[in-house]
Symmetry: C2
Subunit: 261 residues, 2 copies
């Protein structure tokens, strides 16, 4: 059976996350239902990252085996026709080898977290960023963020329900960009690692926010890491601001000429 | 009675536009209801621009007379507490003289129209931009946009229901910015004039889109203008992409120190 990979964007708000859940609508279910409408089999999709309820994606990757050969552009178009009412869209489809696995083959994952610091509540961006009603200091957050870089036991910064075998992970990148808004500042936290644990980014961002607010010193992040104790974590940031940005592969199946939609 | 001016942001999607409508929820109604909860009178608000159904605002301005003196920051906070579930937010409140009128005193109005050119439908930005599934050429659109600048009879580019006395208006600015997206291009049309007529910007953008798509030559815009005939207009762009960006006043009541929230 031919295997395809898909670059997928979605609005996390109406969904219970990527993974199928009993009694709730997941992105996986919406996507597999669209696949089922164009394919004779019972297509099952595997994603690079299992995003939580309310978490968005601008570059989620999933793979799936289909019964027939499709021209990738037509496949993306056919899926989007079925997905249109669901706030899920295929940005690109491509044919991949049968040993390509969206989850296992990924050499890295990147997330972006949007935090808007302004007094007024969000309106048209409600659910698309985390709004906090006071200013944050960028420099202390950047100093604190450096403590997360490299290989650490991230026990403090993962959910108590995290099922990863080991709490030891390597964080490759944690940048904080600032965008000046007419009425505040948007902070974009860009985090890259081979893989993340459950709630890891929201736990890190929630703790960094405490540093930006002046409630924590930058070195308190180091202490919290060293504690290896979930109780030492700051408040967990809401899912609203989190976007699965990109999965990395070597070679990148989406960079092949002609596969672009 | 003390008069206040408000800078207001809203998500146009749930509303029938700014102005009160029988049997539909308008931004004006939501805003006046919030004012009514903190003021003993029956506050009536006047806005700089009467946005249509589905049109957003990031800098709408309205004024209102209240029964008592308020500290502007507290006033904005109190209103936002009541507005929070409605996707309307007060960005700033300020005390103004009784001859300030959000509509009559405005020396100019600026709108931004967001058009996303990419194959896939929008997901988390659905309703926040106009998505078209093919590429647009920027240069022809920019050449065509110049025809709109200056003083013209805009009969072709206003709604048949427009109630303005005269179809002659002066357009001061029509810039087209390009933002590169990972999967397409976002065009931002920035239009400024003393005032606009009903559907004028959506009519101009819808016609410029035809130029970008290659269906119209840039000079067809000039022909359409000269025709002074609504039938000569291109398709009217949907409200999704339109944002009331700013109202201009001289002096600007929101630039007074201490008025900022």
């Amino acid at each position: 059976m031919p295997r395809f990979a898909f670059k997928i964007e979605y609005d996390g708000r109406p969904f219970a996350g990527w993974q199928r859940q009993k009694g709730q609508i997941s992105v996986q279910q919406a996507f597999e239902e669209a696949l089922g409408k164009i394919d004779m089999g019972v297509p099952r999709a595997t994603a690079a990252g299992r995003t939580d309820s309310g978490v968005h994606a601008v570059g989620q990757v999933a793979h799936c085996d289909l019964q027939k050969e499709w021209e990738p552009f037509r496949l993306a178009e056919a899926l989007n026709a079925h997905l249109r009412p669901r706030r899920v869209a295929v940005l690109q489809a491509t044919r991949v080898a049968n040993d390509f696995n969206a989850r296992m083959s990924a050499t890295g994952r990147r997330y972006v977290f949007r935090l808007v610091s302004r007094r007024a509540p969000l309106t048209y961006q409600k659910g698309l960023a985390w709004q906090i009603p006071y200013p944050l200091a960028a420099d202390p957050m950047r100093i604190a963020a450096k403590h997360f870089l490299g290989r650490h036991d991230f026990t403090t910064f993962r959910s108590a329900h995290c099922q990863a075998d080991s709490p030891v992970k390597t964080l490759d990148e944690l940048e904080i960009d600032e965008l000046l808004l007419s009425d505040g500042i948007e902070f974009r936290f860009i985090a890259k690692a081979r893989s993340f644990m459950h709630r890891q980014i929201r736990s890190m961002v929630g703790s960094l926010e405490r540093v930006g607010a002046g409630a924590w010193a930058p070195d308190d992040i180091l202490e919290a890491l060293k504690a290896r104790d979930r109780q030492a974590c700051g408040p967990v940031a809401p899912p609203d601001g989190l976007y699965f940005d990109r999965a990395f592969y070597d070679p990148d199946p989406f960079e092949r000429p002609g596969a672009q939609i």
